[in-house]
Symmetry: C2
Subunit: 418 residues, 2 copies
């Protein structure tokens, strides 16, 4: 990455802040409105208009936004210079006056760059500004309890390959965002707690063997954002990704809700049977005891696989009609349904999306989850069809990581020129 | 109320919308910025500056906001004409130039007006723009299973008395907001479902015997907002008000979170012991079976009182060391703690506030709630001191109803002049 390349914004830019403020959606706060902020507003407005329509000319953009033709032209020139917008063929508009070229989001130039460390794989992904996946790398690799420096070296190699391939396509990946199965922060690029990797307090920035240090975000959060941005999930939804651990993420008004300290979305230790067996966390009857992949494998009487992942084994056995596997998966579905009854009552999401590897078990899990919810959510109307499995499945987190940067460019194009 | 009086804004103005939108906190959406929206922004900025400081002159406001002295003077004149700001004595500023008068929020003129129907009482409350309670009426009255028209006639009399008293104080109460123990909407002033009153689909607007029809809001939501506005509760918190029913409300970034359909905050039917006894809702082991006032009274072996309310009876017995009452209250605390463990894990609030009549039982409930939380919230740091009882107690909902209007005036002063 060159020194002149703009810095991608961190994950916090799409989150609700935890800080208290007064009337946050109103003009009552912040400094006095200025010409500069109006220009930034209008730059984003023009980009958004181009992004959500096809074949608009500058005149069409002016008509849709209420801005003058001259102002639109100046703003479009700025967006073209920043490589965010490109001009196409002449518009076939029936308007009076000189016809103009059509405008579209650029399919080369600045691009989103996602990386991923999973318990059993590494990944790299580049998306263009339109949100299209242009480079995709995924290698199976057992990372749990391995030396973090070794894992990061392998990931950096994969990232360099992906970057080179992107460059041959005319793309310029910005700073990468790394999806991790754990809790990032508080410092930059610090992985505090990743229990399923057996890693604690790993200084990713220090260990990273290259100039282009990634920022970190939790995989469950990124899976939820990928759902928001690609699958057209509604603005308020609950995303549940279950595999090694069980993670949840709340999207509210189209943004990730991270809680007052960044800890929101802890569903795995919700008490499902509060007098049940002891959990490793010290509590009793937590959801993970009934629904994470190891618990289900164990309940199914299946050994831990060495060459593939537990969810694939469970899927194969369920497909083959293995009674123990079916019973264990259905029991997990009941536990998920009990936990989700509480979560839906509190949050009233427009949808619940089951993501991650567990999406592959949706055919067996969803009927049990929905039955629990239908039996328990009776005070308010509830539609079981609002609970679905994600079409993204395991691809969600790394896709969310790459799209994060492109979404940020669309949201705040002025930042790219700074 | 005269025909020229501005209409108070409905409760939804302080809520998160349920609608999906893109980058809601950014300038990328909405129409192009205009001079009019800049003036509205700056009007609110000046009012907010006056509200949060004492003894500022116009010159001081200009210095703090970055606006010109001339612009501030014009905006202050507009705020004085709208009766939102008044001038006080000369400022003792050491500034060069002509000294100016100090500015303060008006303590007469437009005022907030809250009304309340409880299971066992009616209430009316008027607050001035500074948030001070200026008129307070509360009468005990058994309303459950009574003819709604009779109850509303009694409330309208109380409201008329309160308005007259406010007028003698120089206050002009705006449209009232009515706190109800149930679910308002979807139409205006329709009370859909108030199980503890035994009321369903009551057209308040039709039955109201006067010109000044109130808008409706749920009491648990208003209690949470009162906490936000008076007790300086942090921006993200969970408010739990338990008495006849158990209601919860989520405040996120200083605004009430109402969910995708307005149903957020349902805590009473969270499964606490999912294989437990059957609830009236059809589910099993709901929180209300262990923690609402009737359940606790019954578990304590106490008869339902006829001359006072159940929480007062429980408080008296607990104070007297009645073993059955103490045991039943502690059992309720355990159930609340189990439910809150799930809620806190998901939502990561900065605080949990126990409000409503149950705040009076805080001395017995809180130790049990905190113990459950300490035992169950081990994956993330948890401080039991963040769980407290509200100092507002039963007064919260009606106070929230009155303050709603004054907060809206502070937030959006331009609306008052329209």
């Amino acid at each position: 990455m060159t020194g002149t390349q703009p810095k991608a914004h961190g994950p916090n830019t799409v989150r609700h802040s935890g800080a208290a403020y007064f009337g946050a959606d109103t003009p009552a706060h912040g400094p006095a409105a200025s010409q500069l902020s109006m220009r930034r507003h209008n730059l984003a407005l023009v980009l958004r208009t181009v992004a959500t329509h096809t074949d608009l000319s500058r005149a069409d953009v002016a008509a849709r936004t209420g801005l003058t033709r001259a102002a639109v032209s100046s703003l479009v020139d700025e967006l073209i210079a920043a490589e965010l917008v490109r001009e196409g063929p002449m518009a076939s508009s029936g308007r009076a006056g000189r016809p103009g070229r059509t405008l579209a989001l650029n399919d080369s130039g600045p691009a989103g760059f996602g990386l991923e460390i999973g318990v059993g794989h590494l990944g790299a992904c580049v998306t263009d500004l339109r949100g299209e996946v242009r480079v995709w790398r995924r290698v199976e690799r057992a990372n749990a309890h391995r030396d973090p420096a070794d894992v990061l070296a392998a990931l950096a190699d994969l990232a360099a390959d992906a970057r080179t391939e992107a460059q041959t396509l005319g793309l310029r990946p910005l700073s990468p965002l790394l999806s991790v199965p754990g809790l990032p922060g508080p410092g930059p690029a610090m992985l505090t707690h990743a229990p399923n990797l057996g890693w604690h307090d790993i200084p990713i920035a220090t260990l990273w063997p290259g100039p282009d240090t990634p920022e970190l975000e939790n995989e469950a959060n990124l899976g939820a954002l990928a759902e928001l941005w690609t699958a057209h999930a509604p603005g308020n939804f609950l995303h549940v990704s279950a595999e090694a651990g069980i993670g949840a993420a709340l999207v509210i008004d189209g943004r990730l809700y991270s809680g007052s300290r960044g800890f929101a979305g802890e569903l795995g230790h919700m008490p499902v049977h509060p007098d049940g067996p002891r959990c490793t966390c010290g509590s009793r009857g937590c959801l993970e005891l009934y629904a994470n992949q190891d618990a289900v494998l164990h309940a199914a009487g299946l050994p831990e696989p060495t060459t593939t992942d537990p969810v694939t084994v469970l899927t194969e056995h369920a497909n083959a009609g293995h009674p123990g596997a079916l019973e264990a998966i259905e029991r997990a579905g009941d536990a998920l349904g009990i936990a989700l009854a509480g979560a839906i009552g509190l949050f009233d999401p427009a949808a619940v999306v089951l993501g991650g590897a567990y999406a592959e078990l949706g055919g067996w899990l969803l009927p049990r989850i929905r039955r629990q919810l239908e039996n328990r959510l009776t005070v308010r109307p509830f539609d079981p069809r609002t609970v679905t499995a994600s079409p993204l499945g395991r691809r969600g987190p790394i896709l969310g990581a790459a799209l994060h940067t492109t979404q940020e460019m669309l949201r705040n194009p002025a930042a790219l020129g700074r």
